[in-house]
Amino acid sequence: MSVDPTPLQAPTSSSGTRVKVLLKIGDLGLKTRREKEVFQQLKNKDFIHTPTLDPILLQETGMDTEFDLIFQMVGWTNFWDITELGSCLLTLEFLCTLQYYEGGIAFRMFK
């Protein structure tokens, strides 16, 4: 995790658009008491990229074919291959601000 000092002013991209920065704990936009409490509970945890099953194992066991078929059936064709890089700070900000509502969720990122 980066501990670079806070820039006095948010940098701008070459196009002049303001660049959002999330490089250190101080960049997290935590506001409420609850958000700060959740942060205290999470701050010492390790954060890892979402792990998965080895594609070689899937192939060797025939599960590559099985999974393709199953995930097609349950509507996860574009969901199940989770290969994005993970970010500790991005995840922290999301989890600290996540709220459950009857019809969905609310959360903040970079605000």
Binding site: L23, I48, P51, L53, P55, G62, L69, V74, F79, G86
Partner: protein, 201 residues
């Protein structure tokens, strides 16, 4: 605020997926379903190894690593059962309500936080990563391969041949098209009558 449907769409589930799992799987009953896929009479201290169908076992491991990451993924939770039930019944189903319940419980869980890639996917789909200076985790992604399952005594190799192990009951060879999830009529494996020599063509 994101509705369940919006969240589901942003994470990549099909728009035809059901969202309200409890209401939209009206025929699901945990004890009855557990009896179909294990030799237990009731759903109680259910574990992955109590299942017998190799695809269901591997699917449950996938759910534990990818969606509901926690320190001990052997326990079969009701949400896991609902997703496996939907898989067997070919029901398009979104996991988002279960996923959010899991995310809200992370503060009380042991072990590392493993949902990070899903959060990146959500932020990316919402175009929140544009013009953002952000660092990603340095360590490499963990891929659970043969060694993980060998240590768990679920799989073994004899030469280049892979077997799924069933405690003292025996083993079946994988890949095994005779026990495909949508091939079998029964999710309990009769090892004595299941050919061990079948391989995918």
């Amino acid at each position: 605020m994101l509705s369940w449907r919006e969240l589901s769409d942003h994470l990549g589930s099909s728009s035809r997926c059901i969202l309200d799992i409890d209401s939209d799987l009206p025929n699901f009953e945990r004890h009855q379903f557990w009896r179909e896929i294990s030799r237990d009479e009731f759903y109680g201290q259910a574990q992955t190894s109590d299942m017998e169908h190799p695809t269901l076992m591997m699917c449950h491991k996938w759910l534990g690593y990818n969606l509901f990451h926690r320190d001990d993924i052997r326990k079969v939770r009701v949400g896991d059962l609902q997703l496996l039930y939907a898989a067997i019944n070919k029901t398009p189903i979104s996991p988002v309500t279960l996923l959010v319940s899991h995310l809200l419980s992370i503060t009380s869980l042991q072990g590392p936080v493993g949902c990070t890639s899903l959060i990146t996917r959500l932020a990316s789909s919402l175009n929140l990563l544009e013009n953002l200076s952000l660092e990603f985790i340095d360590e490499l992604r963990i891929y659970h391969g043969f060694d993980t399952f060998r240590q768990a005594r679920m799989l073994k190799k004899e030469g280049n041949v892979m077997y799924m192990l069933y405690d003292n009951k025996g083993k079946i060879r994988l890949p095994n098209p005779n026990v495909g999830l949508y091939v079998v009529q029964n999710y309990l494996i009769e090892i004595a009558v299941t050919p061990v020599n079948q391989r995918a063509p």
